[in-house]
Amino acid sequence: MATKTRAASKKKRRGKAAEKEGPEVIRVPETTVEIVSDSGEGAQKCGQIFGAVCAKMGNGAWTVEIIPAEIQPPARSKAGGSGNRIRFGTEEVTNWGDATNLVVAFNEQVLLGRIELGALAEDAIVLLENQWATHPDEDIRKEWEEGLKELSKHDYRIIEVPMEEECLKIVDDTRRGKNMFALGMLAWIYDRDQELIRGQIAHQFRKKGEDIYQRNVELMEAGYAWAQKNLDFRIEVPTVPSDVPKVVMNGNEAVGMGVIAAGMELCSMYPITPATSASHYLGDVFERFGGVVHQAEDEIAAVGVAIGASYSGKVACTITSGPGLSLKQEFLGLAVMLEVPLVVVDVQRGGPSTGLPTKAEQSDLLTACFGQHGDAPHVVMAAATIDECFHSMITARRIAEAFKTVVIVLTDANLATGVQPFVRPQVDARWQQAPIGLAPVPEDKPPYDWDPRTGLAQRRVPGQPGGMYTATGLAHNEWSKVAYDPDSHQRGCQMRSRKMAVLQSTLKPPEIRGDDSGDLLVVGWGSTRGAIEEAVDRARAEGLSVSSCHITFLSPLPPGLKQMFSRFDRVMTVEINYSDEPDDPYVTEENRRRAQLCRLLREATLVDVDCWSRVPGQPLRPGKILKAIKQRLEMGVQV
């Protein structure tokens, strides 16, 4: 896909650039817009509405939040920018793309912050609030002058916009309103349906009162009118309305809705970024479904409450992020030992330690697989899209109950806050079924009546007459009696492990995108799917022999990988976690610390799988992945 918004007019223009003979219309298959402001000025809301309108008009879209780590960082600071980045196109958009083509910035500092991060295309159009030029504070005026000098080093087309001045005609406090003015400008530039915009404004503001809704509409219309009068270009991204019903939401809302769809009755959690918004969503609606969001006193209690609920026969989950997952590990080992079904969602962020709380990373894979002490076989799977955030909840519950074990579902901050339209799920009443009744149990039937071949056993919950037993985290025999003898522990471990082999035998090998054999196979997992596939498609379009596959089940891994890998000269994972580069100082083949999926694949297949991974605190860009693909291909055959 092309990434430029316009081929023409690279000359810089300042100020109002309006001629009456009608604007130039630039037609592109897809484009990326961002709006960035100080925290609290509403750029995020503007971006959310714009993204939703694009989706509703039939564009493919992918929206990413730009979030500072603090709630109220200092105004006009480079690190304090807050907003939204929307990539939308005629066809489906599966990732955030490479660079922004048009940006609306409320001050030059947040814009410079974005530029330092490499967010903007070199020929980007910039709509920049210009009130700072005449600001009473001399320091600010100086910053503005220096900022413009800095901007002039680039090839951007800068359009100064008197947003403050225009908004003051309508409201006294422009912190509550400039965002709608910006929305109006975007609406004119991209020819967005104003009726849909008003509908979205109503969705956001109507519950705050009719006058607030009206004022926001007025501001939006003012922005629209200003752009119409003053801008000499419009950008057209053709829309293809589709018959397939779709919904649009972010990954955490999809997880929350998936929790409901999967028939869960309890979500037990402790606040942690970036997972909490899933609980915000559930906190708002879950009670209507008879479900409870339990905010526990800490991460450990959160999982303990979920395990207690599940032990007593209910469907429960806990939602957390990396630091919370670390705290929950002892309890997860207990659930595995007791064979209590449990769904855990880990919305990954940058680590270790507090790391990058608001930023995406895929570095919890190994701790999700191996974080418990002792041998604690359980299931780890990852959602690759927002759609999968929803559906993985249903799959996870089913596996957790069928195999009486823990299922950890990995998403990340990219999915959590990314917004994408997807095919509306067909809700199935069978997903809501209660897991188990309270039928009496024969007293001669042990609580762990393991099938020796599969390790599977029937579930048993309090309330079932005749079934009384004490679940224990100590090594135990089939009667759940504490058993320290060597045979009993060997057997218990064996039964719990066998279930994983059985599950693995039911999985399908992952599909290959591209040819079944070739020079390079790129393997990914989780939220990088769209970016990897776009990079591979571009590489193939350039004639390179590259394919990709994406792995949903990380533990157990799906069957057929070794054979699949053997048909490629090189296999490489692309991940958002840290790995050494092969040519780093002191790094050798033996001591190189490889990316996390790469390690799992090498162990499972004995293939010399390579990796390319980065931890930029943001999603990977397809352009960068493409570069890595080319670089690895130049390195030649290694296997």
Partner: protein, 317 residues
């Protein structure tokens, strides 16, 4: 008790089962001879029998430690989980299955040290359950380490020259938490008092916290020795709304009339003192219980599907 009706299955037959003490007998207890836990086990089984609690509707939850082996020795449902984490599990059970009778046993390391955060919050949730702190002032299962309730200067394997800090007072700590609704103290060597306290706790609607003073014959045999031998060291809190066992009046002559509804007085009596006070310090049935506060009308699968479709409509493109 081999025959049970199927009232549980909803076919309307009255459950005519009668349960004897034997019906609550689980595995043979493996505590040390002379351990106070034996007496507590008997009292709990006696309570289950007297109240005729259905074994399948009773759940004993514990953490890790000597006292946490408890559920294995009672033939009900049991959950022997993690060190310090009995209370979150118990809350999960009660929240989702409020009809179950939940009993929690914890040791002083379990409740007052590694699980202290859960103890405070469980008190505040005030879910309807009996929480027993079996307090022997020492880590027993790990062989003699100082616990938060070990008396000052009492030696242990980790603090062989005596403990360095004054012991934590579990009674004032619990009474200080918002929503504390039942706080009592009893001693395992006074079986009638232990039983009556357990019974009052069971009938209390809310989180009933009982600290049970418990002898450990191996590591802390001296701590309660004087109190066992000299009833004069014990002061009984008595009241019509509390516990009063006339049979014990001759032995335990130090008595103080204390109305369990008086929180300020409860707090004063619970302070550290030369006397070992037993009885109900505080009881308030008027406080909200978490499982009641969070109770919701059940939804059928069809209702949930309909609501979910409405929810998806809100996000429809």
């Amino acid at each position: 008790m081999t025959h049970y009706g199927c009232s549980l299955l909803g076919c309307g037959v009255i459950d005519e089962r009668h349960f004897d003490m034997d019906d609550y007998q689980g595995a043979i207890a493996r505590w040390c001879p002379g351990c106070g836990d034996h007496s507590i086990l008997t009292a709990v089984q006696r309570l289950l029998e007297e109240e005729q609690l259905k074994p399948e509707e009773t759940v004993l939850v514990s953490g890790i430690g000597c006292s946490s082996r408890f559920p294995h020795y009672v033939k009900t449902y049991g959950f022997h989980g993690l060190h310090g984490r009995a209370l979150p599990v118990a809350i999960g059970i009660k929240l989702e299955r409020p009809e179950l009778h939940v009993f929690v046993t914890m040791g002083d390391g379990d409740c007052c040290s590694i699980g202290a955060g859960h103890w405070i919050h469980a008190t505040r949730y005030n879910a309807d359950m009996v929480a027993m702190l079996l307090d022997n002032n020492m880590y027993g299962l790990t062989k003699g380490q100082t616990s938060p309730t070990t008396p000052l200067r009492f030696p242990s394997n980790t603090q062989p020259h005596g403990s360095y800090l004054r012991p934590l007072n579990p009674l004032t700590a619990t009474l200080g938490v918002t929503n504390a609704s039942f706080v009592a103290q009893t001693a395992e060597w006074i079986p009638q008092h232990l039983f009556e306290t357990l019974k009052a706790a069971y009938h209390h609607k809310g989180f009933a916290f009982i600290r049970i003073l418990q002898r450990c014959p191996v590591y802390t045999s001296k701590i309660y020795e004087d109190a066992v031998r000299s009833p004069d060291l014990i002061e009984m809190l008595i009241h019509d709304d509390g516990i009063h066992i006339p049979d014990l009046d001759q032995i335990y002559k130090n008595q103080v009339i204390h109305d369990p509804s008086n929180l300020n007085e409860a707090y004063r009596l619970a302070q550290d003192s030369d006397r070992m006070r037993i009885g109900i310090f505080y009881r308030n049935e008027g406080l909200p219980r978490y499982e009641e506060v969070r109770r919701l009308p059940a939804r059928t699968a069809e209702e949930r599907v309909k609501l979910l479709n409405e929810e998806l409509d809100r996000y429809a493109v």
